[in-house]
Symmetry: C2
Subunit: 336 residues, 2 copies
Amino acid sequence: MGQNAGGGAGEFEIIAALRVLAGSPRSDLRVGSGDDAAVIDLGLGRLLLLSCDAQVEGVHFVTARIEPDRLGRRAAAGALSDIAAMGGHATHGLVSIIAPQRMAATVIEAVQRGIAAEMTRWGAAIVGGNLCRGPALSIELSVLGEVRSTDLLTRAGAREGDRLLVSGRLGAAAAGLRLASDAGLVVSTAARAEAVAAHERPAPRLDVARAIVRAGGATAAIDLSDGLAADLGHLLTASGVGAWIDAGRLPIAGSTIEVAQALGIDPLDLALHGGEDYELLLTAPAESVAALCAAVAGGSDVELTEIGEVRARGAGIRLGLTDGERALDPIGYRHF
Amino acid sequence: MGQNAGGGAGEFEIIAALRVLAGSPRSDLRVGSGDDAAVIDLGLGRLLLLSCDAQVEGVHFVTARIEPDRLGRRAAAGALSDIAAMGGHATHGLVSIIAPQRMAATVIEAVQRGIAAEMTRWGAAIVGGNLCRGPALSIELSVLGEVRSTDLLTRAGAREGDRLLVSGRLGAAAAGLRLASDAGLVVSTAARAEAVAAHERPAPRLDVARAIVRAGGATAAIDLSDGLAADLGHLLTASGVGAWIDAGRLPIAGSTIEVAQALGIDPLDLALHGGEDYELLLTAPAESVAALCAAVAGGSDVELTEIGEVRARGAGIRLGLTDGERALDPIGYRHF
């Protein structure tokens, strides 16, 4: 949710302004704007999670280059990922589609089918929606989730000395976006398949979240929508800490490396600043790491990798390289 | 929610398809797609209401002709109105804005301020949102509400013999839209002020809903977003009944009459088919009408007017005129 607000400073000022103009104060609001999902206290230890995500033609995707059902799946994954980042499970969704008049009903139906398939996969019901015309295809999802009060993960709990862990592999979605944008890039068939799948069918890590919550010990979490550097920056800001990342331990996807080579850029750029991986980044004290890794390996298709540690606030983000270390700017994909 | 899906048959087919592809079935879903808001059972007699509404530049408004804060208020009113139609009160909202790159941050902030002001007025908190760029300004609101299980109003409860009641006055928002679209229309200053206010600052009838629920007796309700004829059609379809409306009893706004005269059209056209009045249409047995009217007069700025009655299904919608009666087509504003 917050992340989709993207990178530009102007945008964050606006989001900050929205936080000030937040309507009526309500005593049941546990977490408002500024985390992956809003958290509303339903009482009796139950928390309601609320998140939204938008996918806009020409900004997040190019219609001609993606099958409409995959577009639907991608839109759903973005909103479901926010629920995962809070340690929750998804329950219900609202779908709002703006579609150009020229667009065939079959295309819109395929988008809806993709959304429904992804929601069904995670046990969530689509309970309503909107459809109206407009200049470009836009898919907007609001997803509800639930989490027990004791299981809630936010961005704000990281403590100095905690380890940084990330699920899955990094940069493949950004690599897939580059392949979709430049038909001339030459990479292996396997790399193309991996990157295109990551871009078109990102997997919200609700299974990873369930395993993390079951294992216990995690102190903070965020999902990677803007890229590791930017989203780590959000988590550190919310927690009031800094971090050190070991570049050599980053689980960079094989396709990321191949696409970066074809582009003549450093794979680290895609792994650190490429958006829409939708992996989970979390922090936990050293003594919880083994149990967390075992739980995730047993409860999902992916693994957790330890990539660094939480440092004191003044440290900023430091990136350890084979030949020294440097400051890492928390920047990602900029919408504005 | 459902209403914003608008008029075209193609659209309703798509919405119907979405209902089939509704993700996982869930036992806590009391009402899904096809009413003003989705209804989720929270247990202990508490129902969660969930609705969304989109306002798109060039479709629902023309940016140059409306102040951005009023645009925000209007967007909020549309989603809040759905909560009113279920007999509920609004609690929380998510705001998603798509804005062109050329748009100044101050304009976006003004939109947000308008949304926040309208939400605050009804005690609802804005708990999160999204901002991204796109080809045209689009404002999407998801609003949560709550209603006691015993107070829930749906579209589906109308029974033959029930009276039809509507809040406020009809057609002024459509009249305001015509004035905004045609600077050459000549009407009185008072009529212009009324119509422009109805168009730019529609009032969600949450206070009317509260009064209705307190009085008791209402059997079904819907809010007027597509126009009386279309929304009555939705209510009748959901309830499996027909209706008779007395044209002479319709509370047509004074501005509607003046604008219709200036346009050379029948004021009934605007009152019956003009969208975005956001009044409530309800049904109740004859013996409840007096108490409902008294409660609404005492609890809000507007009055309820009895405009007709519920008939058997086969009757369709009949419109009684001074010189006879005719069938009324349940059509409203068409997005597609």
